[in-house]
């Protein structure tokens, strides 16, 4: 195999990989504007940034999943050939995704060599594949049976198999995309050991993680991305966690999202010690009438799971949810709805709308009991109710009978909101209410939420966009890996505090 060269030698070295001024757009959305990344052999390089900063897009360009629009990539001094995953693998790029994609029905050995099975002549040599896999596992210091099937092995072991696969392809660049997100602390330790071994053997390892403590414990250098651009690269030795957080946040919180100041009323909904194993733990907060409570945290921190549990879509192991002091039974969304809860889900296409049904039908989907007579829906009542809501929310549509899928993303979101507001809930839960919609509609959604709060509704808003959380929330619950890290008041909250809590740091 072709590596194990300048291990550990001091800079300056020749870079192994250089990505310069990379740009990539999807439709109208600019995922990468000016991204730069330089990797040296024998280093572990952290790639950092908020959700949506462009890390994944950049790595997928390297993996051959996306082709870049502009910029250039050189690997070992030669231009990098883009276009397919196979091309990338052949050039020595290996990507280990957060959720490894093994083949459950195949053996570990075949997983290692999938698509490039070892052959003698044209026939597959199973013994040789098993032998080489065993050797690779040993080199990584992990006991795994190459003849076992992949079905059911732990995520940590799956990653080891992926890494073994990378080594077997003679990869020189090994990218690990949030590998520790689903690992226990002992498994993380083992992975760190493996990564350090790889570094010492001369590989360039890219490590994506939201956990700054891990980055500082493991990596040599870091690159921070924000809004599709590279903010900068630094040696870990020359940086502090505070620097990094500042680089990640960067922007000022704009005044785009003003929540009206309204008197905060009594507690409407209280959540006490809510826990669900493996998802979230000990979540407690109150929401008052007229209040917007932000739920902040990184993607995967358990926010959506908490609100789904509150609304009764998922069950929980322990804890209580009470509305006006009265307990809401777990696991019964219909009851929660009757009592005055509403949940606007995160993924409107999958969970929020009946895409092929008419706008009216969607708006009144929550109201069929109210609008029907002898079990028949009355079209006339449907349409008039829907038209009212359409006007209130300024939905732009041609015909109420048009299928929802014909509307723009922003207008679809308004229809989902209308659907739930039509139930006149006391507590409105919105999960990522403005994801993927344009700025104008965003402002309208914010105005609407603010007005509803003013009218005495209690609102819980899950959002990954810091400016939105900061602009709209009266108080902010910050979660990290299923745990509630703290509740910040509007007056004390700022981006750095939220990021620090969300990534596991301590506020100084």
């Amino acid at each position: 195999m072709t590596h194990a060269t300048e291990a550990g030698s001091a800079a300056p070295q020749t870079p192994l990989l250089e990505m310069r001024h990379v740009a990539k757009s999807f439709g109208g959305v600019r995922a990468l504007v000016d991204a730069n990344l330089t990797l040296y052999p024998g280093e572990i390089h952290a790639l950092l940034g908020e959700n949506g900063a462009g890390k994944s897009t950049l790595l997928k360009a390297l993996a051959g999943v996306h082709t870049i629009d502009a910029g250039d990539i050189t690997l070992k001094g030669a231009p990098f050939r883009q276009g397919s995953t196979r091309e990338s693998i052949e050039q020595g790029i290996a990507v280990i995704y957060q959720e490894p994609s093994l083949f459950p029905d195949l053996t570990l050995a075949e997983n290692v060599f999938v698509g490039r099975q070892l052959t003698s002549g044209v026939l597959i040599n199973w013994d040789e594949m098993a032998r080489q896999s065993r050797e690779l596992f040993q080199r990584l210091g992990v006991q795994l049976d190459p003849n076992a099937r992949a079905r059911g092995i732990s995520i940590a072991d799956q990653q080891i198999v992926e890494i073994a696969k990378a080594l077997s392809t003679d990869a020189t660049v090994i990218v690990m995309d949030e590998p520790t997100a689903a690992l226990s602390s002992r498994e993380v330790e083992r992975l760190f050991q493996v990564a350090t071994n790889l570094k010492n053997q001369g590989y360039a390892v890219v490590f994506v993680s939201h956990r700054l403590d891990e980055v500082f414990a493991l990596c040599d250098r870091l690159t921070v991305m924000r809004d599709g651009e590279t903010v900068g690269s630094k040696m870990i030795a020359d940086s502090s966690e505070a620097d990094v957080v500042r680089m990640m946040v960067g922007r000022e919180v704009s005044e785009l999202f003003p929540k009206l100041d309204v008197p905060i009323g009594d507690v409407v909904l209280s959540v006490d010690n809510l826990s669900l194993e493996g998802q979230f733990e000990d979540i407690s907060f109150d929401v008052h009438a007229g209040e917007i409570l932000g739920l902040a945290g990184l993607v995967g921190s358990g926010r959506s799971e908490v609100v789904r549990a509150i609304f009764g879509i998922d069950r929980y192991d322990s804890g209580t949810v009470r509305l006006n002091g009265e307990p809401i039974p777990p696991g019964k969304p219909a009851v929660a709805m009757d009592k005055g809860l509403a949940l606007v889900p995160e993924d409107r296409r999958q969970q929020g709308l009946f895409m092929a049904s008419s706008i009216s039908r969607n708006v009144v989907a929550t109201l069929w009991k109210k609008l029907s007579q002898w079990l028949l829906l009355l079209r006339r009542r449907e349409d008039s109710t829907a038209a009212n809501w359409g006007k209130t929310l300024q939905v732009k549509y041609a015909e109420l009978a048009d299928p929802v899928e014909r509307l723009s993303g922003g207008n679809q979101q308004k229809v989902v909101l209308a659907k739930w507001l039509a139930t006149e809930p006391q507590v409105l839960i919105v999960d990522e209410p403005t994801r993927g919609i344009d700025v104008g509609t965003k402002a309208e959604v914010h105005r609407l939420l603010s007005e509803k709060a003013q009218a005495g509704m209690a609102v819980i808003m899950v959002s990954s966009e810091l400016p939105e959380v900061l602009g709209m929330s009266d108080r902010i619950v910050v979660m990290r890996e299923g745990k509630q890290m703290g509740i910040l008041d509007r007056s004390e909250a700022d981006s750095e505090k939220i990021i620090t809590l969300a990534t596991g740091g301590v506020i100084v």
């Binding site: 959700n51 949506g52 890390k55 994944s56 993996a63 999943v65 397919s84 995953t85 196979r86 693998i89 052949e90 957060q98 959720e99 994609s101 093994l102 083949f103 459950p104 029905d105 195949l106 075949e110 999938v114 698509g115 099975q117 052959t119 044209v122 026939l123 597959i124 003849n147 099937r149 079905r151 059911g152 092995i153 732990s154 995520i155 997100a181 689903a182 493996g278 998802q279 993607v299 995967g300 358990g302 959506s304 799971e305 890996e481 299923g482």
Partner: protein
Amino acid sequence: MTIVGNVLKARELPVFLAIVLVILATGIAKPTFFSATGVVDILLGVAVVAILAVGQTFVIVARHIDLSVGSLIGFTSFVIGDFYDKGYGTLGALLGALAIGVAVGAVNGFLVAYMQLPSLVVTLGSLYIVRGIFSDYAFGRTVTAAMVPPEVAWLGFNRLFGIPYLFLLGLALVIISGFVMRRTRAARDLYAIGSNPQAAELAGIPVARRVFTAFVMNGAIAGLAGAVLLGRFNAANANSALALELVVVAACVVGGVTIAGGSGTVWGAFLGAILLQSITRAIGALGIPQFWQQAFNGGLIILAIAFDRYLNSRVKTTTIMGSKDE
């Protein structure tokens, strides 16, 4: 791992035991069941289904399905007789059948692999289209024994040590394909595709090309198998092999070729074909009303699926933190 260990762990073992059980139990109840004609009957019945099940396994393993094979084999069995009768010779007739099989397989494969249409729907469509063309082609005509190429008739009539050549032909195909499925890259790619299509794409496997090839191979096998069907019955008409595709899929499923793709062997499908055929004959021999046979086979399919599910769930899975992509 020892060979014994492998055999004991194999998904095919219970199918094999079931076959033994059915045959022994029936034989004890009705000793005539063991007569030479009884066994030969089973073997002849198995041959056609087993050959089609081999081709079907290529497709199912890649998480697809091909329902057009019943119409296809019926059509080509007719074409072989008709072509021979028209003087194209045995070779010409077989080449014609092969060409039709490859063409239908290529159309199915193109629509599924390159146009990304669901194979269930595509092949349901081609099932009717091929049967329609067949009916029109065969309109009012039948292929009679006199029109069957002599080599084909010979295959159907003759035996080697009492075993019909048709069965041996099927067995040979199973042995060769079993080897190919285990030892060639293209075939292993099909397993990978069926096991995890997205990951197969990421691993650089030429997914579309492999799936296309699987359909073409299956079409070619079904096309040529027309000769086997014709050799067995010595006749063909527009209703030949009607609904046979369902028996073929059933044989695969019963034999452990998981409909969700990724696992199963041609040996399993072969045993599945034998089990279904044995049960059919056993029910006949025992004088149980024929409609029970269908219900019984249906029950067996569901049992097989439940068994596969049970096997998979027995594997310990580790729970993961819920996570989403960016």
